[in-house]
Symmetry: C2
Subunit: 213 residues, 2 copies
């Protein structure tokens, strides 16, 4: 398809597409003559992902370029590729290791991962930004005086493991590795608000069932 | 306890406690003489919640006062009281009803709630800010061209219902209604980042189990 059709089908203006091309967020089309390039479904898919990152996720252009670099790096293993793209997304800052709440949180996260037998999560440990996010979020609870620990988190972790299995089953319905990785990145930005809203609706529903409205 | 002890035990400076008292975020202590007031465990608990809302949730003081008004309104039913406090927290803006993606999202959310038999969620419908959040989040996916529908969301909704049952079981371990409502509000601010991090860790773990690192 030509640029005009790519614009129409994606809902992205030709000026914005040209900007994404210049910024290296979108691969150039196949040049058919000096002034015309031909685009295909992979460009449409990539535009969708660029919009998800930049317009919805508010990710800076440089970060989006870095994320897409990971998405496209076929030399990486699948877990690293699915995860590495997310690692480039905005992360929580490094926790303050002199804070006793951080030390307590780290101890509880270690206990949790041991009790669950999550070997990779333990092995990656603080290398993983999601591990760090968990320590920081739990440290905040502990600092405020909420006594959350490994035992309280374990049933939630098991349910989120079921959610993660569903996530990967869904990714596996996609035909190509490129589509799977792109979908994983888009989901990290777009699907979290859906999951959070489903959680809130389920709380309302369950509360009404137990206690009435 | 006196103000100095309340400050030490809560980790909140006496100046900040006085500010919260002036702003009506904290109930006055029991006046023992012209210059001294006595505080109890309920003040300590409330200070913890005020910090959760203001320091962690970045909720404006006026909104925090509104949330705490709902928390303290014993004339409300339990579901409304648990939920109403959350309803005062920052919400997504009203969706643009002329947008076809919003109409499609609303249709899929209706189908989802019917298929799940979530009667309260259907009855409250757009009155509920979490219902609105779900429509807006799904509309964003649809607008970008990701064909998410009721069938794809249903397994996630069922898992989030299990999470919600666990949430309410946990609330029920708290002795008083005031503690239950306060904990529900604190959890809405503080626990979502924990749940999200557990989801990410579970994805890493499951991906490594299926595909290696």
């Amino acid at each position: 398809m030509r640029l005009a059709e790519l614009s129409e089908r994606s809902g992205v203006s030709t000026a914005t597409i040209k900007y994404y091309l210049r910024e290296g967020l979108l691969a150039p089309g196949r040049q058919v003559n000096a002034t015309t390039a031909e685009y295909d479904e992979s460009h449409l898919r990539r535009l969708r992902l660029v919009r998800a990152l930049i317009q919805v996720g508010r990710v800076p252009v440089a970060t989006a370029r870095e994320v897409l670099g990971h998405v496209d790096d076929e030399s990486l293993g699948r877990t690293i590729r699915l995860g590495a793209a997310l690692w480039a997304l905005p992360q929580v800052p490094e926790p303050d290791e002199t804070d006793p709440a951080v030390a307590a949180a780290r101890r509880e996260v270690d206990r949790l991962l041991s009790s669950l037998g999550w070997a990779t999560a333990r092995e990656l440990g603080p290398l993983s930004p999601v591990h760090r996010s968990l320590v920081v979020a739990l440290a905040t609870l502990i600092r405020l005086g909420y006594a959350w620990d490994a035992e309280l988190m374990a049933p939630y972790a098991k349910l989120m493991h079921q959610v993660a299995m569903r996530d990967l089953d869904f990714l596996e319905t996609h035909g190509s590795e490129a589509e799977r990785v792109e979908t994983a990145v888009a989901a990290a930005v777009l699907f979290e608000p859906v999951l959070r809203a489903l959680h809130g609706l389920a709380q309302e529903e369950e509360s009404a069932r137990r206690y009435g409205l």
